[in-house]
């Protein structure tokens, strides 16, 4: 019984206050005041937006680690990367919108995908390269092969934690991009549920975000 009680105490201290915050978020979603002036069904979940979103996340999830694997931790100190990372997603979308040739029709999913990658990729490469361990003097002294191997091992450990920690932020980025480019998607779904007072739908979103937090925290073995 003692190990079980100890485990419960450790888990309570590790997750308890955080779960309380998520509980408050859930309460806010479920008690969202106000009613819509005309009764309306909750918006349908944008299933059509799911495959492109998953494709974008998969592309980002592969491209960022691949670039970091090639560039190493030195990328975190590159000024060019900092310059690419600096403009917010709002600005990338605005430039795409302004430069989109009229003959191509309204900017749809390809523009959204491009804006998403432009906004997210430099920041994620910076995040991952900062998290990589230093390479001087070792494995630098062991040669490029050992260097790549060490990077691969470090990235393999970082990858799930990175994905779980960053997914909520990408969701916010998609909300901004979708609103500016006029593309319906997962981010706008949150906004639509707020405007239609779909409390249950919002609560499901909060629980999904809480689950991501829980996963990323469970993976995070270090006491930061």
């Amino acid at each position: 019984m003692a190990p079980l009680a100890r485990f419960a105490a450790v888990a309570g201290a590790r997750f308890g206050p955080g779960l309380a915050i998520w509980g408050l978020g859930l309460l806010l979603a479920l008690s969202l005041p106000g009613t819509v002036w005309k009764a309306a069904q909750p918006p349908p979940f944008p299933w059509a937006a799911l495959p492109p979103t998953l494709a974008a996340v998969a592309l980002l999830g592969l491209a960022a680690p691949a670039l970091v694997w090639l560039g190493g931790p030195g990328l975190a100190r590159r000024r060019s990367l900092a310059l690419l990372e600096a403009p917010p997603d709002l600005l990338w979308a605005a430039y795409l919108l302004a430069l989109w040739p009229a003959v191509w029709g309204p900017p749809t999913l390809p523009a959204w995908l491009l804006a998403f990658l432009l906004a997210a990729l430099p920041g994620e490469v910076h995040w991952l390269s900062q998290a990589l361990p230093g390479e001087d003097p070792f494995p630098l002294a062991w040669g490029p092969r050992a260097q790549r191997r060490v990077r691969w091992l470090a990235l393999r450990r970082l990858w799930p934690r990175w994905l779980a920690a960053r997914l909520p932020l990408w969701l916010t980025a998609t909300l901004v991009l979708e609103r500016i480019l006029g593309v319906p998607g997962l981010g706008s779904d949150w906004l639509a549920r707020v405007s239609r007072r779909d409390r249950v739908g919002l609560a499901v979103w909060v629980m999904a975000l809480a689950l991501l937090w829980f996963i990323s925290r469970a993976w995070d073995r270090e006491h930061a």
Binding site: F15, G18, I21, L83, P87, A98, T172, L209, A224
Partner: protein
Amino acid sequence: MSWRLVFLAALLLPELGLAPFQGGLAPTWSHPLGTDDLGRDALLRLLLAAARSLGFASACALLSLGLGLGLGLAWWGRRLESALSALRGLPPLLFLLPLAATTGGFTLPVTGLLLGGLAAPHLAPALRVRLDTFRQSPAWAAERCLGAPWPSRLRRWGPYAWTQAAALFPSAWLSALWGEATLSALGLGPPPGRDSLGRLLAEELPRLGSDPSPLGWAALAMVLLLAWISAMGKGEA
């Protein structure tokens, strides 16, 4: 940090006067970017909006650093670690949307308080790393062992802690700047009548592709310039 604080004064500047009969003028020598629909000089409006956005970002950054410092100190016992991690996991925008719907929009001070408060948990870990060096120093241990009173400890270590916090000011400033711009572009920022870069972008973005105005492009260029100045200021190699 100091040049950014100068812009706090811009928060007190009055709005430009309206001249509806001179609206929509093309760029001339007297109005280099032309005038907007309400007859305001577009260049003046852009400069005023930029200065006000920068001042607003400075105020938010000061607030979030103060709060972050408090959280960083409180975090020493690690009792708040899990709660702060959860606060960092909830994207601010997704939290602000229901809140804006509940309250029917935010005023400028409320937006500042919310942005500053929501940025503080993100600053706390970096602050804690910086403060750990003096927490583990022999001088701090000696003060604790000798039972120095809190006011005396604060007088000695407070300025050091603030210097460490000030090093994070540029990143806090930048996140406040983008936070306000994003909220305004989504229509959730401060109410009309208070020009800011985000409000200018929100006004100009819808017609940027079809009817591009010099003001829209100038606002975009201004935001890009600010982003790059901040990135250069990070001291990258």
